[in-house]
């Protein structure tokens, strides 16, 4: 190794040259394009959305007019019973479908991991619901729920039971949409869980076996704790996605009967695009963004707290 002269290895006193200055700050200006794109596509629209949420947007005299309306949209929000119903339905939907999908996805992944020969086949079969376009899912399930000739009512008739109005009654409509969502997204959880299980280290499990752990004890005290990061990520993503549910409800029930299956995204879409109430639609969007952000923050905090406790 050739030693460098001492003065070359020491920082030069005084002002740095342009080249040095550029070198020192390269990491910042290398980030600039990303930052510009982020600002243009995320921050700017968000600012506009905020501005819109305190405005009334009118289409008049051949132009779009924004009129500052202060707390008008907030006052409308306080008396909006449809949004309340939509929020209630959305929360119920999120809790039920995410819980079912997490449990079913985990069980399926555990079974598949125990039968390596079948894992590929099971994975391929379970991938199908994810690959099917939403419009096809809506059509197929709507036909299956059909009162006259749907498969479910045909089965009921086989057993001498009366047919049910699956998507047209306030009692069954929301559960019917939940079933479709669970069918659609359990495979997603399954794939995440299976990948997580397959990447677990084998040593702790072998050690547990040597110590005489039963299957249940192995699952409860070794596999699930090791799988915890995967479970938490899957849980967070599915919760956020489920909160944004739109296509399944739109295609199966349109939010009806009445407000029985009205959900937040569907309602905002209608306020924005059908009713052309841009200001109020923006306000509802901001409320939804805030709720999601609060969930993510609380969730991250809980996860961090538990992790540090462990």
């Amino acid at each position: 190794m050739t030693a460098l002269p001492l003065e070359a290895s020491l920082p030069r006193p005084g002002r740095p040259s342009l080249r040095e200055w550029l070198d020192q700050r390269f990491r910042y200006w290398a980030l600039a394009p990303t930052l510009v794109v982020l600002l243009a596509l995320t921050v700017y629209p968000l600012i506009q959305l905020l501005r819109m949420s305190v405005s009334t947007v009118r289409f008049a005299e051949g132009r779009v007019i924004w009129i500052y309306s202060g707390l008008d949209n907030f006052r409308t929000f306080l008396t909006d019973s449809t949004f309340l119903a939509a929020m209630r339905n959305t929360l119920l939907f999120v809790i039920v479908v995410v819980a079912c999908e997490m449990v079913l996805g985990l069980i399926l992944a555990l079974i598949a991991s125990q039968t390596p020969r079948l894992a590929g086949l099971v994975r391929a079969i379970l991938m199908i619901p994810i690959l099917v376009p939403a419009i096809a899912i809506g059509t197929v399930w709507r036909l299956m729920y059909n009162f006259e000739f749907g498969i479910f009512n045909q089965v009921l008739r086989l057993f001498g039971l009366p047919p049910q109005n699956w998507t047209g009654s306030a009692t069954f409509a929301l559960p019917a949409v939940m079933v479709v969502d669970i069918w659609h997204w359990t495979a997603f959880i399954f794939l995440l869980m299976l990948a997580g299980i397959e990447s677990l280290p084998i040593e702790p499990m072998e050690a547990a076996r040597v110590d005489g752990a039963s299957n249940w004890q192995l699952l409860r005290h070794v596999v699930l704790p090791l799988l915890r990061p995967t479970i938490l990520v899957a849980l967070m993503f599915r919760t956020i996605f489920a909160f944004k549910v739109f296509d399944e409800v739109f295609l199966l029930t349109g939010g009806g009967p009445g407000n029985a299956t009205e959900v937040v995204s569907l309602y905002i879409n209608r306020v924005f695009f059908a009713q052309s109430r841009m200001g109020y639609g923006a306000f509802l969007s901001i409320v939804t963004i805030l709720l999601t952000a609060v969930f993510v923050v609380l969730y991250s905090r809980t996860v961090r707290r538990r992790s540090s406790a462990i």
């Binding site: 070198d23 390269f26 289409f59 008049a60 029930t253 009445g258």
Partner: protein, 477 residues
């Protein structure tokens, strides 16, 4: 430990240099290829000259169509679109003028129209406006008045205006004869009563005229399993159930307000409205399928075309499915008549039409090119062809023509008979909010979640709130 390779400014400049060099080399190589001739322009240049003097006689329509620059029409991909497309191709063939179609699903039409008409210059020369949401475009002056484009063009009295859907009175905030002429209808979709003519004949029944007739026929024909006596859409779906229900409301002598454009007193829950609502709910409860609150347009067509429905309220656009042997078991067996009325009321089929308008943010030359197409498309001859292509025409002389006597076009007589009674959609800028309220509460009443009276009272209050907030002089009736 192997240190990570540092990607510094010099590395970045080096990589950028290599990439730029490669791209430049590729571009230079491309220059060696023969250059293709420039494509013909598809959009008209922004000039204000009148259409070129060279005129092509369009023999079939009897009118002389000037040669104009290519136009682009924003059009929805609805069941009648194939008929419209054929009409456009016929126009091209007969006149030599070129038309581009920007086809969009129904759901995207409002947004695209709004974007086009609020831009510096619209990308479309003609926009297709739905009666359910067109009011803001007329009221907001986003559409060019027809007589601003061609002061000599007069509205042919045979073109059905659907209660002056073509004109807008800015002071009344409503469509009116004394308003400014903004648009021309292109699809005359209205409600009809569909009935099984074969079963009616067998049972010695006449086509229903009143709701009592409907009930009597339903009572006779309904068996609850293989044949339902009466149905309409009951599913909450934008503006479907409420749209169908409007005929009950108006045929019993009520309306959503006392006199739209003149008196904004909310009357949707008056005694006549209650009678209309009760009649609707009674008929559906007794004679409709049990899942009526989940029945949309597709299910209505299935029921009627599948031979399971004796009578139903449907828009005329569904008629084509009844005689399609691939979709229907009742080919030639379905009859059509004007939507029924109360014994002391008047018929009132609701319109759900499409009106074409020319964006205001266009240079004069493009506006004239658009109007040239519309003028041609609304001639009797073009509308006759349009009907044969499977679309719903907008001329009364087409509905009363010889074509209407032919079996496949038997629905046309019912359309001609309906014209004097047409009840318009809710045509104010706040219309979509009001139709949302009606749709929700009618659906709730049909699903049995609330009573008919409760539904009407909720609608009345909500409509009053919407109108009051928007500045209309309103009160609860």
């Amino acid at each position: 430990m192997i240190p990570a390779k540092k990607f510094d400014r010099r590395e970045f400049l080096k990589a950028t240099g290599i990439l730029t060099g490669s791209l430049a080399a590729t571009a230079l190589a491309g220059c060696a290829q023969p250059t293709p001739p420039p494509a013909a322009p598809t959009a008209a240049p922004a000039a204000t000259a009148a259409p070129a003097a060279t005129a092509v006689p369009a023999v079939s329509t009897g009118m002389t169509v000037p040669k104009v620059d290519p136009i682009t029409i924003l059009i929805n991909d609805s069941p009648w679109f194939p008929g419209f497309e054929k009409l456009v191709r016929l126009y091209e063939e007969k006149t030599g003028n070129k038309v581009n179609l920007a086809v969009t699903p129904f759901a995207g039409m409002l947004e695209k129209t709004r974007n086009a008409t609020t831009a510096a210059e619209s990308e479309y020369d003609i926009v297709n406006l739905n009666e359910g949401w067109y009011a803001p475009f007329f009221h907001g002056k986003f559409i060019a008045p027809i007589q601003e484009i061609d002061p000599d063009y007069k509205l042919d009295p045979n073109i059905i205006t659907y209660k002056w859907s073509t004109h807008w009175n800015h002071a009344k905030i409503y469509s009116a004869e004394d308003g400014i002429w903004y648009g021309l209808p292109i699809n005359g979709n209205i409600q009809l009563l569909y009935y099984r003519a074969d079963l009616f004949e067998k049972a010695g029944l006449k086509p229903p005229v009143t709701w009592d007739d409907v009930e009597a026929a339903a009572k006779k024909l309904h068996d609850g399993t293989n044949l339902y006596g009466f149905a309409m859409r009951g599913q909450k779906a934008g503006w479907a159930t409420g749209f169908d229900w409007m005929t009950f409301l108006r045929s019993h002598g009520s309306d959503w307000v006392a006199n739209p454009g003149v008196d904004w007193t909310v009357t949707i829950n008056n005694a006549k409205a209650r009678a209309g609502m009760n009649r609707c709910l009674e008929l559906l409860k007794a004679y409709a399928p049990k899942n009526i609150a989940d029945i949309g347009q597709a299910e209505m067509i299935q029921l009627m075309a599948g031979g399971k429905l004796a009578q139903g309220i449907m828009v005329v656009a569904s008629a084509a499915s009844m005689d399609n042997p691939e979709k229907s078991t009742v080919v030639g067996k379905v009859g059509y008549t004007v939507t029924p009325k109360a014994a002391d009321g008047v018929h009132s089929p609701t319109s759900g039409i499409w009106v074409m308008g020319i964006p205001k943010n266009l240079p004069d030359k493009r506006r004239k090119a658009g109007l040239t197409f519309l003028k041609w498309a609304l001639t009797k001859e073009a509308q006759m062809e349009y009907t044969k292509f499977g679309a719903v025409p907008v001329r009364q002389d087409v509905y009363t023509s010889e074509l209407a006597t032919q079996q496949p076009y038997r629905w046309m007589k019912a359309m001609a008979d309906s014209t004097p009674y047409i009840g318009e959609n809710i045509r104010i800028p706040e219309g979509p909010q009001i139709t949302d309220s009606i749709e929700l509460h009618v659906n709730e009443a049909i699903a049995g979640q609330i009573t008919g009276d409760q539904a009407l009272d909720k609608m009345a209050q909500e409509i009053y709130n919407i109108l009051q907030k928007a500045g209309y002089k309103t009160k609860l009736g």
